[in-house]
């Protein structure tokens, strides 16, 4: 019993348990939000707000107030808070700095590719892949295949430049 409690607090939880709970949460999001869970569409809006506030981008009408009217904002902020809380519950919080500059560049380039790729395909791994397929949309399946091929290519780059 104590061991189970330890596992719940510290993790890691079994993958299949995570899958079931995430599935239920995913469905709940659809019910409450009336559209599926997605991440990058909202991040693009954050970007527009930051860019126009800093004067780098021409204003497309995204004020901070407007940003706060999107349900996606609350999902994304919630996700960050929830992940932090999970780490805190297990007393595993620590700042983990970048220890090699090659990872700084792979993170930056990787993030740019992900953001760009996700938006031109209208969704990321959650909105486009998971929930594209969950929505019984053919686009979702095709996107999934493309992401898998991309992962394969990315793995080759990783082995070549980052190991």
């Amino acid at each position: 019993m104590k061991k189970t409690l330890q596992t719940i607090i510290h993790g890691p939880w079994a993958y299949w348990i995570g899958a079931i709970i995430l599935g239920i949460l995913n469905i709940l999001v659809l019910i409450v939000r009336r559209e599926p869970w997605g991440i990058t569409m909202n991040l693009g809006i954050w970007g527009e707000w930051l860019g126009s506030s800093l004067g780098i981008l021409n204003h497309q009408g995204i004020t901070f107030k407007r940003l706060m009217t999107f349900s996606g904002t609350y999902l994304n902020i919630g996700l960050l808070l929830g992940a932090f809380w999970a780490t805190l519950v297990a007393s595993q919080v620590r700042f983990r700095p970048i220890r090699d500059k090659k990872f700084f560049f792979s993170a930056l380039i990787g993030g740019l590719l992900m953001g760009y790729g996700a938006r031109i395909a209208y969704g990321c791994n959650v909105g486009g892949l998971l929930n594209g397929i969950a929505s019984s949309s053919l686009t979702g399946w095709i996107f999934a295949i493309a992401v898998f091929l991309g992962t394969w290519l990315g793995s080759k780059l990783l082995m070549k430049f980052l190991v």
Binding site: V29, T40, G111, M114
Partner: protein, 209 residues
């Protein structure tokens, strides 16, 4: 390397839980719906971190190290979501509640986007949810990736129109419209079962039973 010893972070934990409660209470004064949604977001982040769920791992590990546990868990997640979404869709059609599903238009940019996303997530060490999750865990590398993600998203949003004009676009294909609901569900679940078996076989082949 590791000079620190174990400190319980329980006091911080209690403080943070109070903070979350306060945040949600304040939010409930503005909108109950947003409060629910934020609570769901927090739950998602919590479960993602505790189960170390990561799509990059699910797609990359079969290739690089031959392990498919996460892949199979992700297939389970897909199956649950497909069935759950179908139920919610039927439920809301019956009650005339408007609902949007992610049936996105299809074009060359879908495939290009997928390739770029796949490459990017391996380089960044996480998918979108993984980056948010690890940012919450305190990984500076994923903070950088998050910054890239936001910038890339803006660039992507602003360039869709060019892709559309250059290569055209087909409207999204909602499979139940073409095949009917039950054939669609049977087809999709069958494919997932097949992929699950394939994943299991792949790992067994690398490691033995």
């Amino acid at each position: 390397m590791s000079n620190s010893t174990f400190h319980s972070q329980r006091k911080w934990n209690i403080g943070f839980m109070l903070f979350l409660t306060l945040l949600l209470t304040l939010l409930s004064q503005i909108s109950i719906r947003f409060t629910f949604i934020m609570a769901l977001g927090i739950s998602l982040g919590f479960v993602l971190q505790k189960s170390r769920f990561c799509l990059v791992s699910a797609l990359r590990d079969p290739i690089l190290i031959g392990m498919t546990q996460l892949t199979r868990a992700f297939i389970l997640l897909l199956g649950i979501s497909i069935l759950g979404f179908a139920l919610v869709y039927w439920g809301s059609s019956l009650r005339n509640i408007p609902l949007t599903l992610n049936v996105f238009p299809l074009g060359v940019h879908t495939v290009v986007g997928g390739l770029l996303f796949g490459i990017g997530m391996v380089l960044a060490g996480g998918c979108s949810s993984g980056i948010l999750m690890r940012s919450g865990e305190g990984f500076a590398m994923q903070w950088v990736a998050l910054f890239g993600l936001v910038v890339g998203a803006v660039m992507g949003d602003r360039s869709i129109i060019n892709w559309r004009n250059t290569f055209g676009e087909w409207p999204g294909i909602f499979l139940p419209d073409i095949l009917g609901w039950f054939p669609t569900l049977i087809l999709e679940i069958s494919i997932l079962l097949g992929l699950w078996q394939l994943a299991k076989w792949w790992q067994t082949k690398q490691f033995g039973e």
